[in-house]
Symmetry: C2
Subunit: 344 residues, 2 copies
Amino acid sequence: MIPVFMPKKVNLKTISNHLNLSPGTVSRVLNGKAKEFRISQETVALVLSYVKKIGYSPNLIAKGLRASKTFTIGLIIPDISNPFFAIMARNIEKAASKENYSILLADSQEDEDREQQQLRNMISRKVDGIIAAPVGASFQHFLEIRNQGIPLVFVDRYFNDIDIPYVSSDNYYGAFEATKYLVNNCHQKIVLIKGNEATEPAKERKRGYMDALIQEGIAIDEIGVTGNDEFSIENGYQSTKKILSTSMKPTAIFALSNLIGLGVLKAVKEAGLKIPDDISLLIFDDQPYVPFLDPPITTVKQDSEKIGMLAIEYILSKIDKEKVDLESKLIPTSLIIRDSVMKI
Amino acid sequence: MIPVFMPKKVNLKTISNHLNLSPGTVSRVLNGKAKEFRISQETVALVLSYVKKIGYSPNLIAKGLRASKTFTIGLIIPDISNPFFAIMARNIEKAASKENYSILLADSQEDEDREQQQLRNMISRKVDGIIAAPVGASFQHFLEIRNQGIPLVFVDRYFNDIDIPYVSSDNYYGAFEATKYLVNNCHQKIVLIKGNEATEPAKERKRGYMDALIQEGIAIDEIGVTGNDEFSIENGYQSTKKILSTSMKPTAIFALSNLIGLGVLKAVKEAGLKIPDDISLLIFDDQPYVPFLDPPITTVKQDSEKIGMLAIEYILSKIDKEKVDLESKLIPTSLIIRDSVMKI
DNA sequence: CTGAAAGCGCTAACAC
DNA sequence: GTGTTAGCGCTTTCAG
């Protein structure tokens, strides 16, 4: 049985009563406006010491109601357990807390209905700004956010058709460069395992892949692109199994996400094949564990830290001074060459 | 230049004015209390349709102030980019949102000062409950939370000296079983690379390791345990380098976290050694990528999903009905045998 | 230098 | 069946 110590409630009124002051005065002292209002040294000292003694902490809900400002940023992402988003989240929280903002976290689980509901929730909670990696194809609900005048920025995923700023990787060039690299190693039959093609990054990666092939004069047959709409291990696994069971015999696989890549590894292993001897593999999105895979995989590394930083930076300055407008930014990727691509 | 559409403000008062009703009535309708107050069908229909038309969303800040309840759960963890915590967070958010609670995320970055500040912040924000994986040795600030009457539960890390409930892995038995397994494979010189030893899990894992050795009649020399206080890649890397440069020649390494394990792999690889031929490795904490490492590593798997679920379940029921008390729970781990331990 | 009071948006107690 | 009003805790005019 925990003995719950029920302290009598403490707020500006009880404090001011106790000290024979008015709530206003206490409030002013606490907000560092003592000089401005030329409040006496004694009063200040009195308030400060008492407040410290009883361990008063201001009610931010009341403050928020009064000021129409909550010092809260909403963060909506499709999967916090994906390291790519987790690292982003970490940096966002870090930068936000430095400016006394807190993060309201929502995991949409790649579900558009959830996302909509979460957005509504954020509006109701009067967040000062929103950072989102949208799930998919529709964006109506995001337009409403903008109409409400709430600062909004997309990360990773975004929409080309509307003028809401975003920070994302340079997916097109990342995939282009990677595909070129494969071709330069004499690969002609390169299969792409895509993820959710409703998303701009997936589209862009695919476009980069295509353009590279075209530029190299390689014919793109329709079986060049496979996979369902999930950035998941399962998608990589099933797709690879399918690929390996056909007569197509690709020499290389280009997996469009780290999870898809793990699925490929699983299927290849099960088939008793060796990377890169039997088939080469290149994965979009690097992770801390990738150097230790069997074999270490060549990847397109995204700077999720930087993406997160720029997004929060934009939101905070947008909150501060309404006028700021962000040019959407594409952050360069880098090709990390390891041992999963064989020169044929 | 984005044309910002500035909608005139909409709240219960403006709505009720517009409909020639009182704020009270509108509030009652919106909160499903129409029957209870026997409000006419027309009025209900009127309110509902209008509210829908203008897309009104209630101000949860005002609601929270009024009700002294915010439908917010604070989540404080040392590193959201660690998959172990990220998976936990995901499940917590999922369960919370089902009951209309939102998650306020704080990443303490293993920094006790940050943690304290974040706790204060959560108090100020009037969260309805807190789930925390505390950083370290001190717990005074957590006692204050309890004194404030805010439901609190620890996950992963906890304190034995205070009666605040926790949900964690059965770290002792997990490590015990793992060490036994090493010994059964004829390893005698097993080095433990610990993490933050101020934490109960690290202590328990070490204790499990020790007890297993003792039970097997193996002498524990002081060099049996090494590593600094960080659950990090760097710690695993540096510690392993040190180990390999001594004359001790352990036959096996037991790494107390997934990140430490990656560091071990790096150092072993750099030294030109092979796992498990030259040295065996066992890691505490499994991850999706572990089966694909070189070689696949034998691990102690923790059920972070279940830990998260139980924690949020407890907090929610504690919020509901004050009386509930949680027996602290240790969730069983499982030893996943792969190819990183050689039978000597 | 400090106090009094209004009001942020909402709900519940009390009217009728 | 519905309206009125007080008050959650805070800040900020306006007074003096």
